[in-house]
């Protein structure tokens, strides 16, 4: 009795391939969903600030107040809506504007009296803290720049201050799409690796085909490999398509090398395949499998991988958890490969961790896979 018969393995892989090609749900998961995610993350979600709706309440008469209002309206970042305080309060309450700027009745007088800058009040919608913070910072900067130009115009000597000129390295234009794409590759590989495989195996249990397989001379190794190989190929094809469309259609830069990309993604995919098979060896119906993979694999990949939410701003305990999650290491590797290049000081530890988790999950899967229906 051989552990592995190529004939049987080939037969199982052919069967799996037919199923992938003929069952619309695997096609949707492997090809339609990635493209959908790509479009959503590429165009739908945009963390860059342009045209935020802002209210302006100018209670001060006089030229300086009018000048500042004109300056604010002139920036490309805001769509200004003028009004009285009660009007703007109402607009803020129903979400029409994200915040407003209040120039108090003494604004013009304080500007003219100098030398200190005249204060302004910024009211923002705290229900969306990210946007509120952005908005406050933007207005504050605009105000500072305007004060500076005022002072210069009046020929006043400017108090020597530090001038900060931020330059975004590796993503010079600070386009959020560029770092969202590596995140979406991570999510796609999680979906194909963990969710699709666990569903496929659960379906075999539900339809009774697993029982038929187990009663045939198939060995455990063949059974496992027949699930790993086809879905590994499928996952890599899907990754390739997403990466290529990101680079060629969405102009995401690619500074690293293809071998590095293949290395990290295949290690990650293996660990997700292991996780998916591990889940399906415990759950034998599609509903439970979907629920479990959603919670164990998909949600952490979205929320705790650093793909969309910055890990450094998470509370310490949560940050600690992210160190245990493979997606975190893939996101970091992909962002490096795409935006910075093959920087092995970052890639090496990530690769080692991904290799470790894939070995761990695959070993656990081998242990959990039974040749029988019970223990």
């Amino acid at each position: 009795m051989t552990m592995l018969s190529w004939r049987r393995l080939r037969a199982l892989c052919i069967k799996e391939t037919y199923q992938i090609l003929r069952d619309p749900s695997s096609g949707i998961m492997a090809f339609i969903l990635p493209m959908l995610l790509l479009v959503i993350f590429g165009y739908g979600i945009n963390l860059d600030a342009t045209s935020m709706r802002l209210g302006l309440c100018n209670e001060s008469t006089g030229q300086p107040a009018a000048a500042f209002a004109a300056h604010l309206t002139g920036t490309p970042y805001f769509e200004i809506q003028a009004g009285t305080r009660p009007q703007l309060d109402a607009l803020l309450a129903d979400g029409t504007i994200r915040g407003y700027v209040l120039l108090a009745s003494d604004f013009s007088r304080l500007v003219q009296n100098g030398p200190d800058p005249a204060p302004i009040q910024i009211v923002t919608d705290g229900t969306e803290p990210n946007i509120a913070t952005f908005l406050a910072a933007f207005i504050h900067n605009t105000w500072a720049i305007w004060n500076e130009s005022q002072a210069r115009a009046q020929g006043l000597a400017l108090a020597p201050g530090t001038d900060i000129q931020a330059r975004y390295w590796y993503n010079p234009a600070a386009i959020s799409r560029h770092y969202l794409i590596p995140g979406s590759i991570t999510i796609i590989m999680t979906v194909i690796g963990a969710m699709l495989t666990s569903l496929v195996v659960a379906r075999e249990w539900e339809r009774g085909t697993m029982e038929a397989l187990l009663s045939s001379p198939v060995t455990r190794a063949e059974l496992l490999l027949s699930k790993l190989l086809p879905y590994f190929v499928l996952g890599m094809i899907s990754m390739g398509i997403v990466a290529a469309s990101a680079v060629f259609f969405m102009n995401v830069p690619f500074h690293g090398s293809i071998p590095a990309l293949l290395l990290v993604t295949s290690l990650f995919l293996l660990s997700m395949l292991g996780l998916g098979l591990l889940i399906s060896s415990a759950m034998r119906n599609q509903f439970d499998s979907a629920q479990t993979t959603l919670n164990i694999a998909f949600l952490p990949a979205v929320m705790l991988s650093g793909a969309f939410f910055v890990i450094d701003s998470m509370p310490a305990p949560i940050r600690a958890i992210t160190y245990l999650l493979p997606p975190r290491y893939l996101v970091s590797s992909l962002q490096t490969i795409f935006l910075a290049g093959d920087i092995w000081t970052i890639l090496l530890p990530n690769t080692l961790f991904l290799a470790g988790t894939s070995i761990l999950f695959l070993l656990l899967t081998v242990r959990a896979t039974r040749r029988r229906l019970d223990g």
Partner: protein
């Protein structure tokens, strides 16, 4: 030659109160068909899986083809063919691809493969369909393909788990002939079934109930014990169901059912018959000894039937008499795409009648049924209940309907009491009427001991009883029962029919679907459904006498069904 020997095999699954198999011993021989019979939950599948090496017994020894299926599993897998329930086919793969997969897995190749494929395809008559996807095959064809896949390695032991469930009677007969052929070639065939008429046709049978062995041996040996005790009471005029209730009250009677126009009575002692004068019948009823059936013997082994009383119906009010038919279907058609699930079906059911729809799975019984209770919109034709058009005001009609769906219509995570409470509320009962209704059901179905249990944890028999309780709490005038007794043990099945019979006596109208051929004989009239069409509609005895031939002078319901299908095909 002995193929399988079991000694005190036990298996207990965690979380279950009862063992799935309880110290079972028995043998299975080569060259014959051995039936493993019993209701759902009796342990049939567990036993087959242990033989196939898929489960490990807790205690006891199992020897399959001279080997231990646990330690020598790799060796045995080449010698055992196993067809699980639902046939274990890949629906996305074609007939040939399914066969090729199993051939590769079982190392059948080259010339031997071509020869085996040709043999199996002609044997199963699947040759014209090799490129069709398995998911697109009919139930009968799936079953044959499943068998062909299990036969690829030329096994010495063939395990078939409920191969006959829900398949049309012609395919079932064909399969039976094929399997007999295989047994003739020296293969040991194991055929598990909950149909007792199938069990009766096996050469030898292991009869299971709740994990224990009730009987092992040729079925004839078991039925023989009842020689002279199975009787017909013929020539009863008037209300047959009342007469049955009266007979079941007699101390000499062990069990009884309605069979067409006769009463089928099992006596406790062949020599002591109750006096037929108790029937108070205008005609002159007489006794006639009939051949005992396997089901008679099964009930006898379980200690006799449950009697004929129905506390459920006793609590119900008498319905006012209605002259016009209560359920009317006229040219009813339901299309799913281009496929007619129900094709131009017409019938009318009077008050106090039991009307049965009999047919294999996929014939269109449930579709017709759902249109009659307003759950599905007909594509064309009329569906009327109590004179209310279901197309226009299904909600108004539904208040007068009770509907018991096929298995799993209860909330499994709720307790029995919570289910009763919920369903009575859903039918608009509240306050003291609701409490009264729930109490009645608890009393009628003896639910006291399980009130606090979750319905998921109960046996199928209990679940079906509670489902019936939930469907009748609002005292409906019409009751729709969709396969109410498939898979339950024969005692529970008797109880069900007691309730049904007694409710009919109160003027309730019943429409029921079944794929049990013998159960159809409890109905006043039956409609045979085949491929969406109603191919015959008559009282069961008429259907049987219509189809009597010289070769089969006294056909069974299944004979009649098959004959009627052939007659249709010739027209």
């Amino acid at each position: 030659m002995q193929a399988v020997a079991m000694e005190h095999v036990s298996k207990h699954f965690s979380g279950m109160t009862q063992p799935a198999l309880n110290a079972l011993s028995g043998t299975i021989c080569s060259g014959i068909i051995t039936g493993i019979a019993g209701p759902d939950g009796a342990g049939k599948t567990t036993m087959l899986r242990i033989m196939a090496g898929l489960l490990v017994p807790d205690t006891g020894t199992m020897t399959v083809l001279g080997h231990n299926p646990v330690t020598d599993s790799a060796l045995l897998r080449h010698r055992i063919g196993y067809m699980p329930q639902k046939f274990g086919l890949y629906e996305d793969l074609s007939v040939l691809e399914n066969l090729t997969l199993h051939a590769d897995l079982r190392d059948v190749r080259g010339m031997a493969r071509d020869k085996r494929f040709a043999e199996l395809l002609s044997f199963t008559a699947l040759a014209p369909f090799t490129s069709r996807l398995a998911g697109k095959l009919s139930g009968g064809m799936k079953q044959k393909l499943g068998l062909a896949c299990a036969l690829l390695g030329t096994p010495e032991l063939l395990l078939l788990d409920e191969p006959g469930v829900g398949v049309d009677p012609i395919s079932r007969r064909e399969l039976w002939k094929m399997v007999q052929d295989l047994a003739g070639q020296g293969i040991a065939v194991v055929w598990s079934t909950s149909y007792l008429d199938e069990a009766e046709a096996c050469h030898s049978v292991l009869l299971l109930s709740q994990g224990s062995l009730l009987f092992a041996g040729p079925p004839h040996d078991l039925t023989q014990r009842l020689a002279g005790r199975s009787q017909h009471v013929r020539g009863v005029t008037g209300r047959l169901r009342q007469s049955l209730t009266v007979m079941l009250r007699q101390p000499e009677v062990c069990d009884g059912t309605i069979q067409g126009r006769n009463l089928r009575i099992i006596l406790k002692d062949a020599t002591i018959r109750p006096d037929l004068a108790v029937l108070d019948s205008a005609g002159s009823p007489s006794w006639a000894t009939v051949t005992p059936r396997f089901e008679d013997a099964f009930i006898d082994l379980l200690g006799g039937g449950p009697g004929g009383e129905s506390a459920l119906a006793q609590a119900m009010p008498m319905r006012t008499a209605q002259n016009k038919p209560l359920i009317v279907a006229e040219n009813l058609t339901k299309m799913f795409g281009t496929f007619a699930a129900t094709d131009n079906v017409s019938f009318a059911v009077r008050q106090g009648e039991i009307f049965g729809l009999l047919g294999p799975n996929g014939a269109g019984k449930s579709t017709t049924f759902k249109m009659m209770c307003g759950l599905l919109q007909p594509s064309s034709g009329k569906a009327e209940v109590l004179g209310i058009d279901l197309r226009r005001s299904p909600a108004q009609a539904r208040q007068h309907l009770g509907y018991m769906a096929q298995k799993f219509s209860l909330y499994g995570k709720l307790t029995v009491r919570q289910n009763l409470h919920f369903f009575s509320g859903a039918y608009g009962l509240f306050g003291s009427r609701q409490r009264q209704a729930v109490d009645n059901m608890i009393h009628a179905f003896h639910l006291d001991p399980v009130l606090g249990s979750r319905t998921d944890d109960l046996s199928l028999g209990y679940k079906q009883r509670i489902a019936l309780a939930c469907a009748t709490m609002h005292e409906p005038d019409i009751l729709f029962l969709d396969e109410p007794t498939s898979g339950v043990d024969p005692i529970t099945r008797r109880e069900f029919w007691n309730h049904i019979n007694a409710m009919v006596e109160k003027g309730v109208t019943i429409m029921v679907t079944t794929h049990f051929m013998d159960e159809a004989e409890y109905c006043d009239r039956i409609g045979l459904v085949y491929q969406g069409r109603l191919i015959a509609l008559a009282p069961p005895d008429d259907l049987k006498s219509q189809t009597a031939t010289q070769e089969i002078p006294d056909p069974t319901m299944e004979d009649a069904f098959i004959e009627l299908i052939y007659q249709q095909a010739h027209i």
